[in-house]
Subunit: 229 residues, 2 copies
């Protein structure tokens, strides 16, 4: 049930821009802010850390699962109306290069310019998961920041912040918080209902999330929303 007295249900989404399913979940929840009585809180965390701590492995480590996942991602993206494309060199772009620098930058944005958190995250997804572009180099990150509307001088300052203990620790803390909720992968969506935290893994439990918070699932593109994507 939505909380009484008109207050909104807090829904947190722990995500990493290296994760395509995180992007799908992120966009759909952004749309549902206009349909459901939720306060959506973005929680940038580090998927590499979650996999390491839980002993989980990317699903693509089982070849047949990897093959399926590529098809599944494409089908889901089309149905969810998110312009997601699989990078040509999946292992090189996604697994080997990873997202640590990007997630540190996003964390710096979250700490100091939270109004840019949503568009900066989206632009980084657009780079790696739509246009098959790098997200590890400083110029890549600055380009994404520019697309998101961050003034250049400010983006440079945030980039410098990414090597500070404050930013590194904040990313670690958010990752640890996801682990405490029971996350073993991403996205990890946590709904707070009557003082209880309900974890949903993946972008395919949003109908169930709706049920738990007393809201109706209206498909991935609900009418009241104007999808950015």
């Amino acid at each position: 049930m939505a909380a009484a007295g008109g207050s909104k249900t807090l829904v947190e989404i722990f995500y990493d821009v290296v994760s395509p399913y995180s992007w799908l979940g992120f966009e759909v929840l952004c749309r549902y802010r206009h349909n459901w009585s939720i306060e959506l809180r973005f929680r940038p965390a580090f998927l590499g850390g979650i996999m390491k701590e839980t002993g989980n492995q990317p699903p693509a480590m089982v070849p047949k699962r990897g093959e399926y996942m590529m098809k599944d991602i494409k089908r889901m993206a089309k149905y969810y109306q998110v312009p997601l494309q699989i990078p040509k060199d999946f292992v090189g772009s996604v697994i080997r290069k990873g997202s640590l620098s990007a997630m540190r930058f996003i964390t710096a944005v979250d700490m100091t310019q939270p109004q840019f958190l949503e568009p900066v995250s989206r632009e980084l997804w657009m780079r790696i998961w739509s246009r098959d572009e790098d997200i590890t180099q400083p110029e890549s990150i600055l380009a994404a920041a520019g697309e998101a509307g961050l003034p250049s001088a400010l983006a440079q300052k945030l980039l410098a912040m990414t090597s500070t203990p404050e930013v590194k620790n904040r990313l670690k803390e958010t990752t640890e918080e996801a682990l405490k909720y029971g996350a073993f992968g991403m996205p990890a969506v946590v709904a707070h209902v009557n003082g209880e935290a309900h974890l949903f893994f993946g972008s395919d439990r949003l109908e169930l999330l709706g049920k738990v918070i007393g809201e109706k699932w209206l498909g991935p593109v609900p009418a009241a929303s104007k999808p950015r994507m």
Copy 2:
């Protein structure tokens, strides 16, 4: 799109009664026969063989994933209105004992008494995944067959068939067919649209299945159906 000329879209569900998500998918598809223009084909296969051939592992092998899965199954079962309960000794009942004898019996039913395939499968799920009862012993299997309405003498005959090469080979063949479609776990749902086979893994892609076959998802308990469960 549904096939032209009023013919129904063939949808196959490869399942094993050891798999709780298979039960959820099975029941929901049984309901949707009344809402969607589909010909639903039950394909009993052996999950152990699929895991072995693909190098896949039960998700519970990652402890945090296992913990989540138990909660997820309970939530899904409630929402899907299937009376599923987690067995007390999950590893002993599900992983160690397995389902080979049950799936051979179901295969014998499929080969000779296909009109009993749906209720026999359901009764075996009821035993292991609702009442925490054994499904490996001959008396367990006969009890399930009795609940499904199979005359006792016929059930005895089918039980004797389970040790024949014909039944063993048929179960192997069905399992291999699932593997050919790309399955790496269960349920594996295969929709045949315009000569192309579309694989959906799990019980959480049924909305997407609807999209691919040109039918509308109406939630897990569509109004036109009378859920048996």
